[in-house]
């Protein structure tokens, strides 16, 4: 693969990872009020775990040895217990009138979404800069 944009492996991996994270956050927000998921229990919040990896096909004496890409290691369920809300009229209310709602805090989700979006924008800026540098390089031999 031609390496015209420097660092593109790291940056593209980050853009993929952040997009997946955004999808997970969107799913959490959409399911914030689901009291009966497919397994009969309230929807359990999902979260992503990032991990970094040394770039593939790197030899240890190349100058860029050490630079890393990122990936989503897994999407796991948040183990926190569901929120109990008093709502006796709800079809899923138990004997005490309490409903088990998903363990999702909207504010937390919004903060995560902002962080994810900032990280995505930052990586887009990295690609833009790499492209600007490549265009500069192409004008090296150009005579006016």
């Amino acid at each position: 693969m031609i390496n015209l944009l420097t660092g593109i492996d790291s940056t593209s991996s980050a853009l993929d990872a952040e997009r997946i994270r955004m999808d997970v956050i969107a799913e959490n927000i959409a399911n914030a009020n689901v009291t009966k998921d497919v397994d009969g229990k309230p929807y359990q919040r999902q979260e992503v775990v990032f991990e970094s990896m040394l770039r593939a096909q790197q030899d240890s004496d190349a100058p860029d040895a050490g630079s890393q890409t990122v990936q989503i290691a897994r999407v796991q369920r948040d183990a926190r217990p569901p929120r109990m809300v008093y709502n006796p009229g709800h079809p899923d209310a138990n004997a005490q009138g309490m409903v088990a709602m998903p363990n999702i805090n909207i504010h937390e989700e919004m903060v995560d979404m902002i962080a994810s979006s900032r990280s995505y924008e930052a990586n887009l800026a990295v690609v833009k800069n790499a492209r600007a540098m490549a265009m500069q390089a192409l004008s090296i031999g150009r005579h006016s």
């Binding site: 390496n3 015209l4 190349a62 100058p63």
Partner: protein, 133 residues
């Protein structure tokens, strides 16, 4: 840029598609001038504006031929370096775009240098020929 335009760019510069005939043409400049006259050339050549770093002694004409041969070799080396930089870039090895562009431009300049030396040489020779009785 995609591989096709990069290849096109590489081959329109002497770096990628270095024409073998111009090298031969240059080599033939030295062989078409008789050695005795080459020797005379080397002694009058010192006032051409294009000075070389090694002083051209008025010794044997072989000195002059060696210099030209060395020049051709150096230029060929530069061209080869540029070619391998471009192929390294296109095949995804660790060559950066900047390095490849700089190599190509240096190879072009070396080639230009050689062409100018050849032109000056021919001009001096022709002027010399005109001067003789």
């Amino acid at each position: 840029m995609d591989a096709l335009s990069a290849m096109k760019m590489a081959t329109t510069q002497p770096a990628g598609g270095f024409p073998a005939n111009s090298m031969k043409e240059l080599a033939s400049v030295t062989t078409s001038i008789p050695p005795a006259e080459l020797q005379q050339l080397s002694s009058v050549n010192s006032d051409t504006p294009l000075q070389t770093s090694a002083p051209i002694s008025s010794g044997s004409g072989a000195n002059f031929e060696n210099m030209l041969g060395g020049l051709v070799n150096d230029v060929a080396q530069k061209q080869a370096a540029a070619g391998s930089a471009v192929t390294g870039l296109l095949s995804g090895q660790n060559v950066s775009l900047h390095q490849a562009m700089i190599s190509m431009e240096e190879a072009n300049i070396s080639f230009q240098m050689m062409v100018e030396v050849r032109n000056r040489l021919l001009d001096s020779y022709q002027e010399l020929m005109r001067m003789q009785i």
